[in-house]
């Protein structure tokens, strides 16, 4: 693999709100052109980090660099390299959808002859083209979110920050938005930095940083995270549990009986296949489940990622 440039570098970043430390001395890098996800429960410090990287929160300590520019001292250059969809609404509610998008084009110097076409495109993406003359204040919560996302996708920044972009979207829109975001990354080499607590979204990212209580507790590819922190499990239903248990115990494989099936940790697939073939006449059902990123979080913290209230 070639060594990609680090488009984002964060070193020893700390952010305090008064006496409360929301982000504690975190460091990480993001490769140019990759999709990077912050995965963590509410209150973990994801938005705090994004807002600081976007130049609108002041850091308490540390160093944050985007595209070689310091986020605190070279704000203007950082701003021209990024695009953001914030978690909270930043729409101009008194204006129409179209006026909101046009204003964004002015802010980001979208060439005049492309404005119309791009607005049309992003509004089609989030299925709002027909209502583009409506005032934002009159829209439903879900529609507002879609306007917000459409606006964020109008221009082509070097780094696109998406803070829980798809939370609250219907499945079809979510799928369409994702498809387009991946297209932007592939075709325009835009680096995507997102936060999410949807496992399936984190799953398709190049790298994931698992964050909890203001600290990064794991940072790797989804594949490696699962490899190191989870086990595949087989769920086997058999009419002869005694034979299965005996064979498993002989090879020291961990297992538990759950109602009708046995849950078996898969350390070595060949071993398991061997055992299963020996009692194949008794087995009525087999399912093998891969570890998920949720299991990763569970393994490291002892908690489910989506516990606790939404914010």
């Amino acid at each position: 693999m070639s060594v990609a440039k680090h488009i984002i570098e964060v070193r020893n970043f700390t952010k305090k709100y008064g006496n409360f430390t929301a982000v504690k001395n975190i460091s990480f890098t993001v490769d140019e052109g990759s999709i990077f996800a912050f995965l963590g429960p509410n209150g973990a410090g994801k938005s705090t980090t994004i807002n600081t990287l976007c130049t609108i929160f002041d850091k308490t300590d540390g160093e944050l660099i985007i595209d070689g520019k310091d986020v605190s001292s070279q704000k203007a250059s950082v701003r021209s390299a990024i695009g953001v969809v914030f978690q909270d609404s930043t729409l101009d509610k008194k204006m129409t959808i179209e006026e909101n998008l046009k204003m964004h084009c002015v802010f980001y110097k979208v060439p005049r002859n492309e404005v119309e076409e791009r607005i049309r495109f992003v509004l089609t993406l989030v299925d709002l083209l027909d209502v583009r003359r409506k005032t934002v204040a009159a829209l439903s919560g879900g529609m507002k979110r879609r306007v917000e996302i459409a606006r964020g996708l109008i221009h082509y920044p070097k780094v696109l920050f998406l803070d829980e972009p798809t939370t609250g979207l219907d499945p079809q829109t979510r799928a369409r938005v994702w498809e387009y975001v991946i297209k932007l990354q592939r075709e325009k080499n835009i680096t995507i930095f997102l936060t999410t607590h949807y496992m399936d979204e984190a799953e398709i990212c190049s790298k994931v940083a698992v964050i909890d209580h203001g600290k990064i507790i794991a940072h790797d590819t989804p594949f490696n995270l699962k490899k190191h922190h989870t086990k595949d499990r087989a769920y086997v239903t058999t009419s002869n549990p005694l034979l299965l248990e005996k064979l498993l115990d002989e090879r020291n494989i961990k297992h538990t009986l759950k109602e009708k099936y046995h849950r078996i940790d898969v350390e070595n697939k060949a071993d398991l296949l061997h055992i299963l073939s020996e009692c194949k006449g008794d087995i009525s059902d087999i399912e093998i489940r891969k570890g998920t990123l949720n299991d990763v979080f569970l393994e490291i913290t002892g908690r489910e990622i989506r516990e606790g209230s939404a914010s």
């Binding site: 807002n51 609108i56 002041d58 978690q87 609404s89 101009d92 204003m103 802010f107 919560g141 609250g168």
Partner: protein, 276 residues
Amino acid sequence: MRVIYALGIRNLKVFVRNRTALIFNLLFPFFFIFVFGEIFRNDFIENPVSFMLAGIIIATVFESSLRVSSNTIDDMTSGFMKEVLVSPISRLSIAIGQFVSSAVVATAQGIIIFVIGFFIGLRITSPLTIIYAISAMVFVGIVFAGFGLFIATKAKNIQTFQAVSLAITMPLTFLSGAYIPFAMLPDVLKWVGYFNPMTYAVALFRAITLEKTHLPTSELINEELAFKIGGVMIGPMEALGILLAFGIVFLLLSTLAFIRVDFSRMNRIKDDSIEI
């Protein structure tokens, strides 16, 4: 330029779309014509109606531009200012965009009273006066919109802004000669008035409306169109300079406030953003 224009138009739309505020803003000046009309019927003023109207027009421009500046606070609390400030546009053009629109609204109001003035006795002889008067309104509007914008960037919520602007507007207008002639004020308040930039806006605008800018400064003192403070004469040109300096200071201060803004210090707003 594209940014200033777009922001300016946007702010004007916000103003026009808010019907209640629009109607209130248009009716407001009539109230003052009604209340203060009598005060100026005294003998040291040559043309009391024009004199009074000029004061009311410029005070309205002042108040209006200050009030319209408070829209910036709505933009802060609604989150829209985040979208503006995270973008790469220059902080100076953000500030200019905000207060050019305030000045336009303020001038529009000033012009309305000016027109009504002709029906109740305002007299001018040269059409040039109209151009000068409108330019002066725009200028004063911009200067005090800068002031209003600065308060808005500091106030953080609309209640604070209203309290602060009331605490500032009242003394500034009443100690400016716009509604109450200086001659009627006790000495102490006169001195306060001399430090009030509004005083010079009023004097300048009156000198223009009464078509007396060409007269020597010493002849303007009687009608409070110029002042002699200590040994220093302050005529129309000096007034212009004072206002210009005042405007530039607040333009820079509000630009600085936009440069320095740290949203993590803002009150967090829980609104309809997203429901999970």
